[in-house]
Symmetry: C2
Subunit: 501 residues, 2 copies
């Protein structure tokens, strides 16, 4: 059989007895590549005496597999397959310290969305959510495996993740239909080009379902099962919890859970933990990128970048307040404010996630139940995503990070992005910040294509191509005459070295 690189391969087994879930996987399979590379993968129970093991190949060529251990005799124990040309770009991982790229090297710039209780809704809401996010251009979705309860939730799910024993959730008895549905929804996201940022636990149970009362051992059994099912999907990310510190658990319990996920995920998918008031120590080794709630750092330049120097990891600002008309102060940003925050985040060398808090027909919010987006920001964020996708460099970093009053970002000397703010001046003198790295300093005579990006009206206009004619200690200038800017608009200027434009 021939499979595509970066696409999951599923082995289906039949056992002699049902071994649903526990602290060891019911079956473990070793995959061996011609090169000698080995990957050990946990399989999972899928109802009755059915077992599956999913594998994500990251190398072309001939592979063999064999069951390394099984808790029940299986109907097959070894096999082989070939992996040919890639479909897709493979899992996302950290690249260039502050950014992301797929396994094949293609940069990934998250412009994410948030629908916490998405998988617990009925149709057409579930499909509408994916279609609407895809159409807007979002490329990542944060959603919770466990159902949300309490405020703004107008829906009780029919499927729950576990059976109950003695009126208590029994994590050793997962409900296959629940997780089969989850598999399908994760696949749907993949087909829509949206990374699945899976919130493993949830802080919004509020005593309704009791899924936040699992012990640490029970959490581990559940997480092993979840990872066994989902890790082979190339587009999966792990977030331990949204607003983790709303749950009264010691920080070291979260730390152990993060280490556990890192240990059992064969593919090293991105891992994070998202805060309410207490930011987690994102310097912990298992944290691949900081997922931070602090919308205030996106209000003005010079703030979000501080997290880069604290963690030296990609910074994703998840929850920067929402576009909407909710009463709470976190839910009533205008579209212009939210789009402005995204562009500020961009020139801070960070990433952000969108959420919409208009009250929906059911009396809920889009961030809870999803559906069609109604706001004016999604189209502009799709436009931003296009600008990010078109970058000719691995990512944008603040250039002269603590001194440039214009807060220019870029990748010296190839490309720069300067965001003039939500109210641009009428004229701007072409100026590139220099910073401290001598080897990437732009030189007099270097030519740059200058594009004016209207971030709200979604236009990109070439202002011309200009040669640098003054290179000082801190700035390089092109021409002494300023160029005209659409005054009062939210304008970004993109400068691309002429050979790359």
């Amino acid at each position: 059989m021939t499979h595509a690189l970066y696409q999951p391969i599923e082995l289906a087994f039949r056992g002699e007895a049902a071994v649903p879930a526990g602290s060891v996987a019911p079956v473990t399979v070793t995959f061996r590549h011609d090169s000698g590379e080995e990957v050990s993968v946990d399989g999972f129970w899928d109802g009755g005496t059915a077992y599956r093991a999913r594998f994500l190949p990251e190398a072309e060529g001939a592979w063999t597999w064999e069951v390394a251990r099984s808790l029940t005799p299986l109907d097959q124990t070894s096999g082989s397959f070939d992996v040919a040309a890639a479909e897709g770009h493979g899992p996302v991982r950290v690249a260039e310290t502050f950014h992301f790229a797929h396994a094949d090297g293609t940069p990934f710039r998250p412009v994410g969305a948030t629908v916490y209780n998405w998988i617990h809704q009925d149709e057409p809401l579930v499909s509408d959510t994916v279609a609407s996010l895809r159409d807007a251009g979002f490329n990542k979705l944060r959603f919770m495996v466990f159902p949300q309860a309490g405020g703004s939730v107008e829906h009780t799910p029919t499927l729950m993740p576990f059976e109950k024993t003695d009126d208590r959730w029994d994590v050793t008895r997962p409900v296959p239909e629940f997780f089969q549905r989850l598999d399908g929804l994760v696949r749907d996201l993949g087909e829509a080009g949206i990374e699945a940022d899976v919130l493993i636990l949830n802080a919004y149970d509020r005593g309704v379902f009791g899924l936040d009362e699992l012990t640490e051992e029970e959490d581990a059994i559940y997480v092993r099962y979840l990872v066994s099912r989902l890790a082979a999907f190339p587009h999966v990310w792990w977030s331990l919890c949204n607003e983790y510190d709303q749950l009264l658990r010691p920080e070291d319990r979260w730390d152990r859970l993060g280490e556990f996920v890192a240990r059992i995920d064969p593919y090293d998918h991105p891992r994070s933990i998202h805060n309410w008031m207490h930011i987690f120590d994102n310097n912990r080794p298992w944290v691949t990128h900081a997922s931070i709630q602090n919308g205030s750092v996106t209000e003005a330049p010079g703030r979000a970048r501080t997290y880069r120097d604290a963690y030296y990891k990609p910074i994703v600002l998840d929850e920067i307040k929402y576009e909407g008309d909710a009463e709470a102060r976190w839910g009533r940003l205008s579209a212009k404010e939210l789009v402005d925050r995204f562009w500020i985040t961009t020139i801070e060398g960070c990433y952000a996630s969108h959420g919409e808090s208009f009250v929906t027909d059911s009396g809920s919010l889009h961030i809870v139940e999803g559906g069609r987006l109604r706001g004016d920001s999604p189209a502009r964020l799709g436009f931003l995503r296009g600008v990010l996708d078109d970058l000719v460099v691995p990512g944008l970093n603040p250039i002269d990070k603590w001194d440039d009053p214009e807060y220019g970002a870029g990748w010296a000397p190839k490309q720069y992005l300067i965001y003039l703010g939500s109210s641009a001046p009428a004229a701007w003198r072409i100026r590139i910040p220099i910073g401290y790295a001598d080897e990437t300093k732009p030189q007099e005579g270097d030519r740059y294509a200058v594009d004016l990006i209207d971030t709200w009206n979604m236009t990109i206009t070439r202002a011309g191509t200009f040669a640098l004619d003054e290179v000082h200690r801190d700035f390089a200038f092109a021409g002494s005459d300023p160029i005209a800017i659409p005054e009062g608009e939210a304008i970004a200027v993109r400068l691309t070295r002429a050979d790359l434009a």
Copy 2:
């Protein structure tokens, strides 16, 4: 003999042979308190066959001591002494997560100064430095043990810390006169009420002295010697290096050095490491407080506070640019700008250090050689120190840290400080931010004394005492009429609950 609590006790020994320095101390003494508490202290060689062991008692009552180990036979090996009432407040340690307090509980609010090459100057410069800092009201000084070379340095020291063997510094042969002088200067700071923030290594050798070319093992021998000499002074702080990342050393070498200092210092003095462009991982356990160079976070509110959430340790912004007329962009702040930065830092719940970069008579700068201060900021920073000393609470924390547009800091519900910025409005409605902690929420009817603090003209004016008459979700108000403010001035408002004012 009777000694004062929190004052160093020195035992003087005579050995049979000279054992200058090495990877173990020449003598180790165990001090035992009546309560059973034991402290093990390394002694040090002090020239010829003289050895000393210094001990800082932190408990009153009867103590005995005995030599636990010695590399040469000594003239005395045990003894006893009593410790009576305290002189001073004892060593500074972290208090309430983000702040500092002396061992006796007295809060310590650093308003520090910076004279890197201080100990390498001649008189009267050395004494003038201390007198001028004391008169201005600074309570901490950052200075380097090793001499600075290169830019702005107009002085070559006569005393060096080590002898040379084969034209290479021999750390096993410290120069007693160098360190005796250092002892005396550290004592002078103590008498002036100034904490000694000792920069153990230095990144400004620039190939002149070669003291930055010691191996890791040599560093350890030197550091053991230095700590043995200085740790018993109650007012010592350790900073591994200024701008550590100007030295091309792997980060884990710094990490091991920090752990080493933590292990060998019996008194757990404050420990930090100060960056140039790459902020150290201040979440490392040995780091007691973050010593950060990033002046830009003191330019506007909402920035410096991000470091608090990254590290959950006190944040001291060392090097926020200097008052002066130097050409470099780090050395030409106006006094008003620098004072404004300190007040912003204060309401961010952080601390800052001063430095002056007017060119001195010798052609150097005050931050290098010291002497009399000339700027207009020191008096205002002394005034700020007075305001901090007068706080009736352990420290100031941002109250509604990511949402209050006025960036009010305080300790709810006892005392608040709101800095209206360098250009105050003509009128201000009395308003206290509330944040998230229900138990410290101010209540309707609570009365507060309101003081207007003119941070530049150094006046404090009581505007009156007001009762809160509107308590909403995010703010509590007193009176619907705004109070008058000296328009255009740099005004802070202090609100103290009436029973504490």
